[in-house]
Assembly symmetry: C2
Homo-oligomer: 177 residues x 2
Protein backbone atom coordinates (compact mmCIF):
# COMPACT_ATOMS: atom_id res chain seq x y z
CA UNK A 1 0.00 0.00 0.00
CA UNK A 2 1.10 3.54 -0.71
CA UNK A 3 2.43 5.58 2.17
CA UNK A 4 2.31 9.33 2.40
CA UNK A 5 5.90 10.12 1.38
CA UNK A 6 6.28 12.04 4.67
CA UNK A 7 5.62 8.72 6.49
CA UNK A 8 8.21 6.71 4.55
CA UNK A 9 10.47 6.52 7.63
CA UNK A 10 7.82 4.33 9.32
CA UNK A 11 8.80 1.58 6.87
CA UNK A 12 12.53 2.33 7.23
CA UNK A 13 12.78 0.56 10.57
CA UNK A 14 13.90 -0.55 13.07
CA UNK A 15 16.71 1.95 13.54
CA UNK A 16 19.46 1.86 16.17
CA UNK A 17 18.57 4.47 18.77
CA UNK A 18 21.54 6.52 19.94
CA UNK A 19 21.73 8.73 22.98
CA UNK A 20 23.66 11.90 22.11
CA UNK A 21 25.33 13.81 24.93
CA UNK A 22 26.40 17.43 24.51
CA UNK A 23 27.22 20.42 26.70
CA UNK A 24 26.12 24.02 26.37
CA UNK A 25 28.45 27.03 26.64
CA UNK A 26 28.05 26.92 30.42
CA UNK A 27 29.11 23.26 30.53
CA UNK A 28 25.64 21.93 31.37
CA UNK A 29 25.01 18.42 30.06
CA UNK A 30 22.19 17.45 27.70
CA UNK A 31 21.22 13.93 26.55
CA UNK A 32 18.70 13.15 23.83
CA UNK A 33 17.85 10.07 21.75
CA UNK A 34 17.91 10.01 17.95
CA UNK A 35 17.28 7.26 15.43
CA UNK A 36 18.18 9.11 12.24
CA UNK A 37 21.81 8.08 12.73
CA UNK A 38 24.42 6.11 10.81
CA UNK A 39 28.12 5.56 10.21
CA UNK A 40 29.16 7.56 7.15
CA UNK A 41 32.86 6.90 6.55
CA UNK A 42 35.44 4.47 7.95
CA UNK A 43 38.70 6.22 7.15
CA UNK A 44 38.48 8.97 8.26
CA UNK A 45 35.80 7.79 10.70
CA UNK A 46 32.65 9.91 10.34
CA UNK A 47 29.21 9.60 11.83
CA UNK A 48 26.01 11.25 10.55
CA UNK A 49 22.95 12.34 12.53
CA UNK A 50 19.66 13.89 11.47
CA UNK A 51 18.73 16.33 14.24
CA UNK A 52 15.54 18.38 14.53
CA UNK A 53 16.09 22.14 14.54
CA UNK A 54 14.38 22.87 17.85
CA UNK A 55 16.58 20.53 19.89
CA UNK A 56 19.04 21.63 22.55
CA UNK A 57 21.38 19.04 21.04
CA UNK A 58 21.68 21.01 17.81
CA UNK A 59 22.16 24.29 19.66
CA UNK A 60 24.84 22.74 21.86
CA UNK A 61 26.72 21.13 18.97
CA UNK A 62 26.64 24.42 17.04
CA UNK A 63 28.07 26.26 20.04
CA UNK A 64 30.56 23.79 21.53
CA UNK A 65 31.25 21.59 18.48
CA UNK A 66 31.53 18.28 20.33
CA UNK A 67 29.21 15.37 21.09
CA UNK A 68 29.21 11.75 22.19
CA UNK A 69 27.14 9.09 20.41
CA UNK A 70 26.23 6.56 23.11
CA UNK A 71 24.72 3.20 22.10
CA UNK A 72 22.07 2.05 24.63
CA UNK A 73 20.89 -1.51 25.22
CA UNK A 74 17.26 -2.32 25.97
CA UNK A 75 18.15 -2.44 29.68
CA UNK A 76 17.80 1.34 29.81
CA UNK A 77 14.85 1.70 27.47
CA UNK A 78 12.77 3.61 30.06
CA UNK A 79 15.55 6.12 30.68
CA UNK A 80 16.21 6.59 26.95
CA UNK A 81 12.51 7.18 26.33
CA UNK A 82 12.39 9.74 29.17
CA UNK A 83 15.36 11.59 27.67
CA UNK A 84 13.22 12.25 24.59
CA UNK A 85 10.96 14.51 26.64
CA UNK A 86 11.56 18.22 26.63
CA UNK A 87 13.18 19.48 29.79
CA UNK A 88 14.06 23.16 30.18
CA UNK A 89 17.44 24.08 28.72
CA UNK A 90 20.18 23.44 31.28
CA UNK A 91 18.31 20.65 33.05
CA UNK A 92 20.30 17.42 32.77
CA UNK A 93 18.27 14.53 31.38
CA UNK A 94 20.88 12.20 32.87
CA UNK A 95 20.18 13.41 36.40
CA UNK A 96 16.41 13.36 35.78
CA UNK A 97 16.52 9.74 34.61
CA UNK A 98 19.17 8.37 36.95
CA UNK A 99 21.74 7.66 34.25
CA UNK A 100 25.41 8.16 35.15
CA UNK A 101 28.04 10.34 33.54
CA UNK A 102 31.41 8.87 32.64
CA UNK A 103 34.28 11.19 31.71
CA UNK A 104 35.15 11.17 28.02
CA UNK A 105 38.75 10.85 26.83
CA UNK A 106 38.95 13.48 24.12
CA UNK A 107 35.82 15.65 24.26
CA UNK A 108 34.08 17.62 27.01
CA UNK A 109 30.58 16.08 26.86
CA UNK A 110 30.45 12.98 29.09
CA UNK A 111 29.63 9.44 28.08
CA UNK A 112 26.59 7.67 29.50
CA UNK A 113 27.98 4.92 31.74
CA UNK A 114 25.04 2.53 31.26
CA UNK A 115 25.49 2.33 27.46
CA UNK A 116 27.36 -0.43 25.61
CA UNK A 117 29.44 1.60 23.13
CA UNK A 118 30.62 5.18 22.87
CA UNK A 119 31.83 7.32 19.98
CA UNK A 120 33.41 10.63 20.97
CA UNK A 121 32.94 13.10 18.11
CA UNK A 122 34.04 16.55 16.96
CA UNK A 123 31.74 18.44 14.63
CA UNK A 124 32.85 18.12 11.02
CA UNK A 125 30.16 19.86 8.97
CA UNK A 126 26.40 20.43 8.89
CA UNK A 127 23.98 20.72 5.99
CA UNK A 128 20.33 21.77 6.08
CA UNK A 129 18.08 18.86 5.11
CA UNK A 130 14.37 19.58 5.21
CA UNK A 131 13.01 19.50 8.76
CA UNK A 132 16.28 18.13 10.12
CA UNK A 133 19.89 19.27 10.16
CA UNK A 134 22.40 16.76 8.84
CA UNK A 135 25.25 16.82 11.37
CA UNK A 136 28.49 14.95 10.71
CA UNK A 137 31.13 14.26 13.30
CA UNK A 138 34.67 12.98 13.21
CA UNK A 139 35.02 10.01 15.60
CA UNK A 140 38.09 10.80 17.72
CA UNK A 141 37.67 7.94 20.22
CA UNK A 142 35.59 4.76 20.06
CA UNK A 143 35.01 2.20 22.74
CA UNK A 144 32.77 -0.84 23.21
CA UNK A 145 32.14 -3.11 26.20
CA UNK A 146 34.80 -5.80 25.89
CA UNK A 147 32.44 -8.76 26.32
CA UNK A 148 30.29 -7.55 23.39
CA UNK A 149 32.96 -7.69 20.70
CA UNK A 150 33.45 -11.11 19.14
CA UNK A 151 36.82 -12.51 18.11
CA UNK A 152 35.98 -11.89 14.45
CA UNK A 153 35.68 -8.18 15.21
CA UNK A 154 31.89 -8.04 14.87
CA UNK A 155 29.52 -6.88 17.58
CA UNK A 156 27.66 -9.59 19.47
CA UNK A 157 24.47 -7.72 18.63
CA UNK A 158 22.17 -10.23 20.30
CA UNK A 159 24.09 -10.20 23.58
CA UNK A 160 24.32 -6.40 23.39
CA UNK A 161 20.53 -6.19 23.04
CA UNK A 162 20.96 -3.02 21.00
CA UNK A 163 17.87 -0.83 21.32
CA UNK A 164 16.18 -0.16 17.98
CA UNK A 165 13.27 2.18 17.40
CA UNK A 166 10.30 0.95 15.36
CA UNK A 167 7.92 3.88 15.96
CA UNK A 168 6.14 5.64 18.84
CA UNK A 169 6.90 3.65 21.97
CA UNK A 170 7.68 0.43 20.07
CA UNK A 171 11.21 -0.92 20.12
CA UNK A 172 13.02 -4.05 18.98
CA UNK A 173 16.27 -5.88 19.72
CA UNK A 174 18.32 -7.92 17.22
CA UNK A 175 18.06 -11.67 16.80
CA UNK A 176 20.94 -13.26 14.87
CA UNK A 177 20.09 -15.33 11.80
CA UNK B 1 37.82 -1.85 25.11
CA UNK B 2 39.07 0.78 22.73
CA UNK B 3 38.34 0.34 19.06
CA UNK B 4 40.41 1.74 16.26
CA UNK B 5 38.28 4.78 15.36
CA UNK B 6 38.10 3.48 11.77
CA UNK B 7 36.34 0.37 13.18
CA UNK B 8 33.71 2.30 15.16
CA UNK B 9 30.99 1.25 12.70
CA UNK B 10 31.42 -2.36 13.90
CA UNK B 11 29.82 -1.27 17.19
CA UNK B 12 27.17 0.81 15.38
CA UNK B 13 25.10 -2.21 14.44
CA UNK B 14 22.93 -3.85 13.34
CA UNK B 15 21.93 -1.58 10.48
CA UNK B 16 18.98 -2.00 8.11
CA UNK B 17 20.40 -3.21 4.80
CA UNK B 18 18.86 -1.53 1.79
CA UNK B 19 19.09 -2.65 -1.82
CA UNK B 20 19.54 0.40 -4.05
CA UNK B 21 18.48 0.13 -7.68
CA UNK B 22 19.73 2.58 -10.31
CA UNK B 23 20.10 2.75 -14.07
CA UNK B 24 23.04 3.95 -16.15
CA UNK B 25 22.76 6.33 -19.11
CA UNK B 26 21.99 3.35 -21.36
CA UNK B 27 19.11 2.28 -19.08
CA UNK B 28 20.93 -0.78 -17.74
CA UNK B 29 19.85 -1.72 -14.19
CA UNK B 30 22.19 -1.98 -11.21
CA UNK B 31 21.36 -3.22 -7.70
CA UNK B 32 23.68 -2.98 -4.70
CA UNK B 33 23.23 -3.31 -0.92
CA UNK B 34 24.19 -0.58 1.55
CA UNK B 35 23.87 -0.30 5.31
CA UNK B 36 25.03 3.28 5.78
CA UNK B 37 21.46 4.46 5.21
CA UNK B 38 18.83 6.40 7.16
CA UNK B 39 15.76 8.61 6.92
CA UNK B 40 16.86 12.24 7.18
CA UNK B 41 13.74 14.40 7.01
CA UNK B 42 10.00 13.74 7.14
CA UNK B 43 8.58 16.87 5.51
CA UNK B 44 9.95 17.14 2.90
CA UNK B 45 10.78 13.41 2.92
CA UNK B 46 14.51 12.89 2.49
CA UNK B 47 16.67 9.79 2.70
CA UNK B 48 20.47 9.68 3.21
CA UNK B 49 22.94 7.07 1.98
CA UNK B 50 26.69 6.72 2.45
CA UNK B 51 28.00 5.28 -0.83
CA UNK B 52 31.56 4.23 -1.63
CA UNK B 53 33.19 6.13 -4.46
CA UNK B 54 34.03 3.14 -6.64
CA UNK B 55 30.45 1.88 -6.89
CA UNK B 56 28.38 1.79 -10.04
CA UNK B 57 25.53 3.03 -7.86
CA UNK B 58 27.23 6.37 -7.27
CA UNK B 59 28.14 6.73 -10.94
CA UNK B 60 24.58 5.94 -11.98
CA UNK B 61 23.01 8.34 -9.47
CA UNK B 62 25.39 11.09 -10.58
CA UNK B 63 24.43 10.52 -14.21
CA UNK B 64 20.72 9.75 -14.06
CA UNK B 65 19.80 11.37 -10.73
CA UNK B 66 17.27 8.75 -9.63
CA UNK B 67 17.31 5.68 -7.40
CA UNK B 68 15.03 3.31 -5.50
CA UNK B 69 15.70 2.31 -1.90
CA UNK B 70 14.30 -1.22 -1.57
CA UNK B 71 13.93 -2.79 1.91
CA UNK B 72 14.72 -6.54 1.82
CA UNK B 73 13.56 -9.15 4.32
CA UNK B 74 15.78 -12.02 5.39
CA UNK B 75 14.01 -14.26 2.86
CA UNK B 76 16.31 -12.88 0.15
CA UNK B 77 19.49 -12.68 2.23
CA UNK B 78 21.47 -14.82 -0.25
CA UNK B 79 20.47 -12.66 -3.20
CA UNK B 80 21.22 -9.43 -1.32
CA UNK B 81 24.63 -10.75 -0.34
CA UNK B 82 25.36 -11.73 -3.96
CA UNK B 83 24.42 -8.24 -5.14
CA UNK B 84 27.31 -6.89 -3.05
CA UNK B 85 29.77 -8.63 -5.36
CA UNK B 86 31.34 -6.66 -8.19
CA UNK B 87 29.87 -7.51 -11.54
CA UNK B 88 31.06 -5.73 -14.70
CA UNK B 89 29.28 -2.43 -15.33
CA UNK B 90 26.07 -3.04 -17.26
CA UNK B 91 25.55 -6.55 -15.89
CA UNK B 92 22.28 -6.67 -13.93
CA UNK B 93 22.69 -8.04 -10.40
CA UNK B 94 18.96 -8.70 -10.42
CA UNK B 95 19.21 -11.09 -13.35
CA UNK B 96 22.34 -12.72 -11.90
CA UNK B 97 20.61 -13.40 -8.59
CA UNK B 98 17.12 -14.23 -9.82
CA UNK B 99 15.44 -11.19 -8.29
CA UNK B 100 12.55 -9.62 -10.23
CA UNK B 101 12.10 -6.08 -11.47
CA UNK B 102 8.87 -4.23 -10.75
CA UNK B 103 8.11 -1.00 -12.61
CA UNK B 104 8.41 2.12 -10.45
CA UNK B 105 5.71 4.79 -10.45
CA UNK B 106 7.75 7.99 -10.66
CA UNK B 107 11.36 7.12 -11.45
CA UNK B 108 13.07 5.07 -14.14
CA UNK B 109 15.03 2.59 -11.98
CA UNK B 110 12.84 -0.42 -11.16
CA UNK B 111 11.83 -1.68 -7.76
CA UNK B 112 12.88 -5.13 -6.58
CA UNK B 113 9.68 -7.17 -6.41
CA UNK B 114 10.84 -9.47 -3.59
CA UNK B 115 11.40 -6.59 -1.14
CA UNK B 116 8.92 -5.45 1.52
CA UNK B 117 9.06 -1.66 1.09
CA UNK B 118 10.15 0.74 -1.62
CA UNK B 119 11.14 4.40 -1.63
CA UNK B 120 11.44 5.99 -5.08
CA UNK B 121 13.93 8.86 -4.89
CA UNK B 122 15.24 11.78 -6.91
CA UNK B 123 18.74 13.02 -6.14
CA UNK B 124 18.66 16.06 -3.88
CA UNK B 125 22.31 16.81 -3.08
CA UNK B 126 25.62 15.08 -2.43
CA UNK B 127 28.47 15.96 -0.10
CA UNK B 128 31.92 14.36 0.07
CA UNK B 129 32.37 12.57 3.40
CA UNK B 130 35.70 10.78 3.82
CA UNK B 131 35.76 7.46 1.97
CA UNK B 132 32.04 7.68 1.19
CA UNK B 133 29.79 10.12 -0.63
CA UNK B 134 26.79 11.33 1.32
CA UNK B 135 23.88 11.10 -1.11
CA UNK B 136 20.48 12.54 -0.22
CA UNK B 137 17.30 11.83 -2.13
CA UNK B 138 13.83 13.26 -2.12
CA UNK B 139 11.27 10.45 -1.62
CA UNK B 140 8.70 10.94 -4.38
CA UNK B 141 6.79 7.68 -3.83
CA UNK B 142 6.74 5.28 -0.87
CA UNK B 143 5.07 1.93 -0.62
CA UNK B 144 5.06 -0.95 1.88
CA UNK B 145 3.50 -4.41 1.76
CA UNK B 146 0.02 -3.91 3.15
CA UNK B 147 0.14 -6.79 5.64
CA UNK B 148 3.29 -5.35 7.24
CA UNK B 149 1.84 -2.02 8.34
CA UNK B 150 0.03 -2.12 11.65
CA UNK B 151 -3.15 -0.15 12.40
CA UNK B 152 -1.14 2.27 14.54
CA UNK B 153 0.93 3.18 11.48
CA UNK B 154 4.09 1.42 12.63
CA UNK B 155 5.88 -1.31 10.70
CA UNK B 156 5.35 -4.86 11.93
CA UNK B 157 9.12 -5.19 12.01
CA UNK B 158 9.12 -8.73 13.36
CA UNK B 159 6.72 -10.02 10.71
CA UNK B 160 8.66 -8.12 8.05
CA UNK B 161 11.88 -9.84 9.16
CA UNK B 162 13.82 -6.74 8.09
CA UNK B 163 17.37 -7.72 7.15
CA UNK B 164 19.98 -5.95 9.28
CA UNK B 165 23.74 -6.11 8.77
CA UNK B 166 25.97 -6.81 11.76
CA UNK B 167 29.29 -7.26 9.95
CA UNK B 168 30.89 -9.52 7.32
CA UNK B 169 28.33 -12.22 6.52
CA UNK B 170 26.49 -11.83 9.83
CA UNK B 171 22.93 -10.52 9.80
CA UNK B 172 20.09 -10.10 12.28
CA UNK B 173 16.32 -9.63 12.23
CA UNK B 174 14.27 -7.61 14.73
CA UNK B 175 12.54 -9.08 17.76
CA UNK B 176 9.92 -6.82 19.36
CA UNK B 177 10.31 -6.00 23.06
Amino acid sequence: MKLEPSKFYKAFAPRVTVLVTTIDVKGRVNAAPFSFAMPLSMNPPLVALGINYASNTLENISETREFVVNIPSNEIIDQVFKCSKTFPKGVSELEKTGLSKLKSSKVRPPRVAECVAWFECKLEWMHEAGDHMLVTGSVVEAEVKKELLKKNGNLDAEKARVLMHVGGNEFAVPFMI
